[in-house]
């Protein structure tokens, strides 16, 4: 692993978000691919493309005001999806991350309706909602680690503001 990648170890902080620097995002969608691969059975691109069901990305590159922007769950403090969830599947853990309990999800899609970022998707085969789960199987974040332009950042909003000001 190169030095550039080693620096992107997982930070677990209260109020953690994965944020995108629009000045650096080139819309290559590598974050989308690596997100889907991380949530595949094989965790390997070449193999993941022939899995059934196909893995699903939880991050999207959107166009906003002529800029590219990579967006996923913002793990909002006062999360509307948690409030709207009728089964208690969507909940806050102790670090403040918004986590979904797959076993409780009934596929009512209310979370999708209320999410202000459009960051929740449907997994039709299993009839459950899917969203960013902060990569529980790895010690960094797939999208942040693989971002080739260094646009994605994991940390608190304050840290992110400091970082983009520096540049």
């Amino acid at each position: 692993m190169s030095n550039a990648l080693k620096d992107k170890k997982k930070v677990v902080a209260k109020g953690l978000k994965i944020l995108c620097d629009v000045k650096k995002c080139v819309a290559c969608k590598t974050c989308e691919l690596s997100c889907a691969v991380e949530h595949s059975k094989s965790k390997d691109l070449s193999a993941a493309v022939s899995e059934f069901p196909l893995p699903k990305k939880r991050r999207k590159v959107l166009a906003s005001l002529n800029k590219a922007l990579s967006v996923a769950c913002q793990h909002c403090k006062d999360a509307p999806c948690v409030a709207a969830c009728m089964s208690g599947a969507m909940h806050k853990d102790e670090s403040g991350a918004t986590i979904q309990d797959k076993n409780k999800c009934v596929g009512c899609w209310m979370c999708i309706m209320v999410c202000p970022f459009g960051a929740i998707d449907r997994r039709i085969e299993e009839k459950i909602a899917v969203k960013c789960d902060l990569c529980p199987d790895r010690d960094d974040y797939a999208c942040v680690t693989t971002c080739p332009s260094g646009a994605l950042f994991a940390g608190t909003v304050d840290e992110f503001k400091k970082k983009i000001k520096k540049v």
Partner: protein
């Protein structure tokens, strides 16, 4: 595909460290920095053929499924693959054109630095091309033969000349599929047309045209390159030489020739042996002048003149890092632009020589056929005068060297196999039919830092040898195995199965035969044709118990080679997959459907041992279909199917 990555031998790693301490990256560091590589590129799902895009298709569940024009995964990945094949084919064929051009100039008396070293081959070629050689001088024949070949490049009707060398069965298949190349250049142009926005949008049709451009390489440009190189520089002869960075000399001027076209490298070897150059070297305090090669131009002078090989593709930067190279002379193909950065940290002079391949940071001394020797001497002189700048404290020549035997060819191979009195392919075919040999595998191609930096070739070849498969090799793959000591006759006793051992012991050949550079893969095609002609193991190339592999392919040229091998009916395994996995249909076409039409198909397997077994299984399948005897020394399990036949 999850794979083992390796940075190569301990010596390689030490030299990589030296490069790093200079504050410069080597190919391995750059590979790390590029990892993970772009997934859309890996899967073949990005298209930048027009300005509606650039577009990329979501390989998983989700949008977008189509490019702006409406192209889907199948069209986009097929188009990309076809363009890669066209570029690869163009490279080989253009290399051939340069050589043919020199042949023409020899005929016109304009290239005094060259001779016709193999007149018999020139006469045979003339006859094959429909020119009556009797009563004609070799100069006249050179002109006429060169003219015929040049016509093949620009031919607008009919078909390329060497196609007739293929067994009738293959020719019929190609005619039926309408993938017979008319002109070599034309097939490349055709791909560029087809893959332009809004032209060919049927992935099968596009892939067939990729096959055609492959055929125009293997049975056209590459084959012409091989044959004419033999005419000018002489046919290869089996000879012993040394390989690996240890061939660099402490007390001599070291010149490295790197690239592919032997026009300059061969003359540099001559120039370095001239008494006045050696005298100059002595005057500068060196014991002499030593030339060593890298990549395929190394193979060209290795198989003809026994010149030592410094290393293969990945070792180009490391050679400079030994601190003992006075000049590196490059022509074209596989020359890393990163070289100049490493060279800047040492005294090495980098010299580019061709108008088609220039590098910022290199001194450009343009090569001209008319004054080849003069230019070569100028280059050698620059190297010699640079000897005094060598910093002895920074010299790190590794001790690693290995012997190898190289210089086999489709023509001379049967002398070795049959001996003076029975110079035919009969002994080879007999050995296969009797079950002493399982079959023949061609293991070729580049070395790649994404995989095992050459290690895959070694593992694959060892596994094949163990199972009595005779291995033929070219290019950097041959060099990778040579460094491991697989290309000497003694290797048979160490690595080969009992049957293969007996064959090698009887004939005195290594179990792995080095056939030359990567354009010389055409020699493998000709050898296969000769096996068919000899009889007893099938009526077409697709029936032969043979297989091909490029375990660490890197160049687009490998894609072109893969295509002509597959189109010729041979099962071919690539280490990392072609950039098509994003399309199920294209992948299925390449790895399954295509076998029904041409007899050959692709497979992708990064694990070299597993890949070797795919080849062995394929060869077993062909043996069963041919109703050949079971393997003579098979212990158990491996060929149940074969045993049932008996």
């Amino acid at each position: 595909m999850a794979v083992n990555k390796s940075r190569g031998s301990a010596t390689n790693i030490k030299l990589q460290e030296i490069v790093r301490t200079c504050g410069v990256e080597s190919v391995w560091d750059r590979e790390d920095a590029q990892t993970p590589h772009c997934g859309f590129g890996e899967l073949g799902l990005c298209c930048k053929n027009c300005n509606l895009g650039p577009c990329r298709i979501e390989p998983f569940e989700g949008e977008p499924c189509y490019g702006v024009c409406g192209a889907d995964k199948d069209v986009i990945s097929a188009r990309n693959l076809a363009r890669h094949a066209a570029a690869g084919s163009a490279c080989h064929s253009d290399h051939g054109r340069e050589i043919v051009h020199t042949l023409k100039m020899i005929g016109e008396g304009k290239a005094p630095s060259y001779q016709i070293k193999d007149e018999q081959k020139l006469r045979d070629l003339a006859k094959e091309l429909g020119i009556e050689p009797a009563g004609k001088s070799k100069e006249e024949l050179s002109r006429l033969v060169a003219q015929k070949f040049l016509e093949d490049y620009g031919r607008q009707d009919g078909e390329i000349a060497f196609l007739k060398r293929a067994p009738q069965k293959q020719q019929d298949i190609w005619h039926k599929l309408r993938i017979v190349p008319t002109g070599i250049d034309r097939t490349v142009v055709e791909i560029m047309t087809r893959t332009n926005m809004g032209v060919d949008n049927d992935y099968r049709n596009i892939l067939l045209s990729a096959m055609k451009v492959g055929i125009s390489d293997g049975w056209g440009g590459s084959m012409i390159a091989t044959e004419v190189t033999d005419v000018i520089f002489g046919a290869p002869k089996a000879q012993r030489a040394k390989v690996n960075l240890g061939v660099l000399k402490h007390d001599e001027v070291n010149i490295i020739i790197h690239g592919h076209v032997p026009l300059l490298s061969d003359v540099i070897v001559t120039a370095a042996q001239e008494p006045d150059m050696i005298a100059l070297a002595k005057q500068e305090g060196a014991e002499g002048i030593s030339v060593a090669g890298i990549c395929c131009t190394a193979n060209e002078v290795l198989v003809r003149r026994g010149i030592a090989v410094a290393g293969n593709f990945l070792q180009q930067e490391l050679a400079i890092a030994t601190g003992a190279v006075e000049a590196m002379v490059v022509d074209l193909q596989c020359i890393m632009p990163g070289l100049t950065k490493v060279a800047a940290c040492f005294h090495t002079k980098m010299i580019s020589t061709l108008p088609k391949a220039r590098f910022p940071g290199m001194e450009h001394i343009e090569f001209q056929e008319e004054k080849a020797l003069e230019i070569a001497k100028r280059i050698v002189e620059i190297a010699v005068r640079n000897f005094k700048n060598r910093d002895k404290a920074r010299v790190n020549i590794p001790k690693d060297t290995m012997d190898l035997v190289a210089g086999f060819s489709a023509e001379n191979i049967f002398y070795y196999l049959g001996g003076k009195y029975r110079a035919t392919y009969r002994p080879l075919n007999d050995a296969i039919m009797s079950g002493r040999l399982r079959g023949v595998a061609g293991v070729v191609g580049c070395d790649n830092p994404k995989l095992m930096s050459g290690g895959s070739h070694i593992e694959m070849v060892k596994e094949l040898l163990k199972h009595d498969v005779l291995v033929v090799q070219t290019g950097c793959s041959a060099l990778a195995c040579a460094k491991e000591g697989l290309l000497v006759p003694e290797a048979a006793f160490k690595y080969a199965g009992k049957g293969l051992q007996e064959v090698c012991a009887a004939v005195g050949i290594p179990p792995v035969l080095h056939l030359g550079s990567c354009v010389d893969n055409s020699r493998i095609l000709i050898a296969c044709c000769n096996m068919v002609k000899e009889g007893g193991i099938g009526n077409g190339l697709d029936e032969l118990p043979v297989a091909g592999a490029a375990p660490e392919w890197m160049s687009e040229k490998a894609i072109a080679i893969g295509w002509y091998v597959v189109a010729s009916g041979v099962f071919t395994v690539f280490g990392s997959p072609l950039p098509v996995l994003g399309s199920k249909n294209v992948t299925d076409f390449l790895t399954r459907e295509i076998e029904e039409v041409v007899g050959g198909k692709w497979a992708f397997e990064a694990d070299p041992k597993k890949a070797a077994h795919l080849m062995i299984e394929h060869i077993n399948k062909k043996r069963v279909a041919l109703k050949l005897r079971p393997m003579m020394y098979e212990t158990s399990g491996n060929s149940m199917e074969e045993k049932k036949i008996v």
